[in-house]
């Protein structure tokens, strides 16, 4: 008896010790003492966590490919101050646990210079809480989330937002509604979580009242099964103008259900869910979208007259195997563009500190595809802070009202909404930031 027990112990302990030894034996990334994390004489290593598979991945999983394509384009044209940019992509499946694990890998093993464009509010919160890039001094650039909290420099000292926050969006929409649809009965369909809460706060602050408010449960499960009921609630409440503050799958479902249910309000779609190409990928026929009002801060992907769009299309054809061009590609390339500019701006002596200092110093003057200003400064990590409005045409493209982009800007606080006179800097030659 005792023999078998001992044997069991031996097996278990052997497994444990072997496991432990394996852990300690595997060398961590070769560390040359003179180099800075993520930077060598010839290379710059960046990292991103994003859902590449899983329920939340469609659409988003095209972003890293677009970023890599633009980096490759830059690398082929001499790189950044002679260094080639590489991007390590980690699939977090939109699960916070995995986001933390994968970010750990990027920061601790791959020792990336910075995280660029990590996606998702709760994932970024978990990472901030646990991996704590702020304390480690790792820059988290251009987070793909509209949560206004990330602009809090005290709490997230190394995080830079790029998307206008949901509060900004709600405030701008309120101003727009007051201007165009005064006196109409309003409806709101929103995601029942921090995302929607941010928006609600923005609307409340602007004094917009909704006759009907329909929350829908986030976490995609509700989406597939409930749209019929959202629409009937809105219709019953008699909403003439409906603001939709949700993800694109919810937008697609709602538009589809309203089409099926022959309910035709004036739709105003939030930026997250109103992305025409993602909607098109969900096979919402463009005609469903026609007439709906949408917002954006970048030029429409369909706008082939735009310098940046032309550039991105070219890069996409040459470096991304011609993956169907859409808003996700634009977003990925624009993020990469901003990144390259920040890296260049930091100069030869590139470190995490110098990178962030460069953004703080020059960020507001960065060229980018965005039609609204960037607000980086020594005191602000807020990126774009505004939107322009447009109407979807019969082919599903968002067309600016009156043929020109009218940009509204504001902040996440109590600031007013203003029409901006901002003109973006001209695109640098060949689309390579100086």
């Amino acid at each position: 008896m005792i023999v078998t027990n001992r044997r069991k112990f031996l097996v278990t302990s052997a497994a444990l010790v072997v496991g432990a030894l394996t852990l300690s034996a595997v060398p961590s990334q070769a560390f040359s003492p003179r180099s800075v994390d993520g930077v060598t004489a010839t290379s710059i290593k960046l990292g991103i966590t994003i859902p590449m598979s899983g329920t939340a991945s469609p659409g988003y999983n095209k972003i890293p490919g677009a970023m890599k394509a633009y980096f490759d384009y830059v690398n082929d044209n001499g790189g950044v101050n002679g260094r080639k940019v590489t991007l390590v992509v980690e699939n977090d499946e939109y699960v916070p646990t995995k986001a933390v694990t994968k970010t750990n890998k990027l920061v601790l093993r791959d020792k990336v210079l910075a995280l660029v464009g990590p996606l998702g509010t709760s994932n970024n919160q978990a990472v901030a809480q646990k991996v704590n890039p702020g304390k480690r001094g790792v820059p988290v650039l251009f987070v793909n989330s509209g949560f206004s909290g990330f602009a809090n420099k005290a709490k997230y000292p190394t995080t830079y937002t790029v998307l206008p926050s949901y509060i900004m969006e709600a405030k701008i929409m309120s101003a727009y509604i007051k201007e165009k649809f005064a006196g109409k009965k309003l409806g709101l369909l929103y995601q029942d979580d921090d995302f929607g809460d941010d928006a609600l706060a923005g609307f409340k602050q602007s004094g917009v009242d909704f006759a009907v408010k329909v929350p829908y449960a986030s976490g995609s499960q509700g989406v597939a099964t409930t749209p019929g009921t959202w629409v009937s609630a809105l219709a019953k409440g008699g909403a003439e103008v409906v603001v939709l503050f949700g993800v694109s799958s919810a937008t697609a479902a709602a538009l589809y259900a309203s089409y099926v249910g022959k309910y035709k309000p004036q739709w105003i779609l939030g930026s997250v869910g109103g992305d025409a190409t993602t909607l098109a990928a969900s096979k919402i026929p463009p005609s469903f979208l026609a007439g709906a009002i949408g917002t954006s801060f970048a030029p429409s992907p369909a706008d082939a007259t735009d310098d940046y769009i032309k550039l991105f299309m070219d890069v996409n054809t040459k470096y991304n195997a011609g993956v169907p061009f859409d808003n996700n590609i634009v977003q990925g390339m624009n993020t990469a563009f901003l990144t390259v500019q920040a890296l260049k701006s930091a100069g030869k002596n590139l470190t995490r500190k110098s990178l962030m200092a460069a953004i703080d110093k020059n960020g507001s003057k960065f060229a980018s595809a965005g039609l609204v200003p960037l607000n980086y400064s020594a005191t602000s990590h807020v990126g774009y802070n505004g939107y322009w409005f447009g109407t979807y045409n019969a082919s599903g493209a968002l067309v600016a009202d009156g043929g020109k982009y009218t940009v509204y800007t504001t902040d996440s606080g109590s600031g007013a909404v203003a029409k901006s006179t901002y003109t973006r800097p001209a695109m640098p030659a060949k689309g390579l930031p100086n």
Binding site: P58, Q221, T229, Y259, G261, A281, S282, K283
Partner: protein
């Protein structure tokens, strides 16, 4: 009033799709005593194949039967190369009871990965072959459309065909006999292994039909992690168990009951509670009627 009618209609159409999935699960259970948790994965794979057929033939109605055939072949292949081996190898020892369940879960994972390799993680679309716009009564739009009606009819037709096959043909006799008493059937000269493979094939076809019909009825898109198919996986199983796991009629009733209950919870309570409602319904039914609503007496213990 119209809300009530519409909720009922939504319940019936989604229920009929759960019923198709439940039929697939019952077919495999009856022929092999295995609850096939990979059934939703197989349905997804067949639907992807259906997507390819649509691209080739530009017709949903040609692709649907082809997808069903493909689904049947895939299922038969899985039984031939995998389940037979499993039954031989893992039918003894302490985990014999759970081994098939675990194995079908593994199969689900393999199928999903396989789909991702071939078709990527992007959404693909299957357009609705006919209008999914609800019929209008007066000023109201009903939650039943030509597509939903077609789904209902297709589900009922498939149930009818399967029932006829089971009750009226020699093949059906062999299928039933093999399920109830494989040993006696073998002694009577029935090639039980082959008949079981056929049971899998029929299930594969039914699952393919469920997948092909559910996709345009839902969001119209297809992805390896599609929510629609998670729904089919869980709700198909729940419907089958509510129905008693043994009978096709039970599967249909189970599907409809589940569809209606979920529709009412959705409309009148909350969308967040849909999935947990499935669990609660399952537990309540199992505790009140341990053998499900049909086959309380005739059914046998696993």
């Amino acid at each position: 009033m119209y809300e009530l009618i519409n909720t009922t209609l939504i319940g019936i159409t989604s229920g009929s799709i759960y019923a198709l999935m439940a039929i697939a699960i019952v077919l495999v259970w009856r022929s092999t005593r295995i609850v096939n948790f990979a059934q939703a994965g197989m349905a997804l794979l067949s639907t992807y194949l259906g997507y390819e057929f649509i691209r080739i033939f530009h017709s949903f109605w040609i692709a649907l039967p082809l997808a069903m055939v493909a689904g049947a072949l895939v299922a038969a292949l899985i039984d031939l190369v995998f389940m037979r081996l499993l039954v031989k190898h893992a039918s003894q020892g302490p985990i014999a009871a759970v081994a098939p369940i675990i194995a079908t879960l593994g199969l689900l994972g393999v199928i999903r990965a396989f789909i991702s390799f071939f078709w990527g993680n992007q959404d693909l679309a299957i357009d609705s072959p006919i209008s999914n716009v609800g019929y209008t009564v007066g000023t109201h739009t009903l939650a039943i459309s030509p597509l939903k009606l077609a789904i209902l009819i297709a589900s009922l037709a498939l149930m009818g065909v399967l029932t006829l096959l089971f009750q009226r043909t020699n093949l059906g006799l062999a299928l039933r006999a093999s399920a109830f008493a494989p040993e006696i059937s073998r002694l009577a000269g029935v090639r039980v292994d082959g008949v079981r493979t056929l049971g899998w094939a029929l299930a594969g076809a039914a699952g393919a039909a469920a997948g092909m019909l559910q996709t345009p009825n839902g969001t119209g898109t297809l992805s390896p992690d599609s929510i629609e198919f998670s729904l089919l996986l869980v709700f198909g199983f729940i419907a089958a168990v509510i129905g008693g796991l043994e009978s096709l009629l039970g599967a249909v009733l189970g599907g409809l009951i589940l569809g209606l209950v979920l529709a009412f919870v959705l409309t009148y309570i909350s969308g967040s509670l849909v999935f947990i409602t499935g669990f609660v319904l399952l537990i309540v039914v199992l505790i009140a009627l341990p053998r499900g609503i049909i086959g309380a007496k005739g059914a046998r213990r696993a």
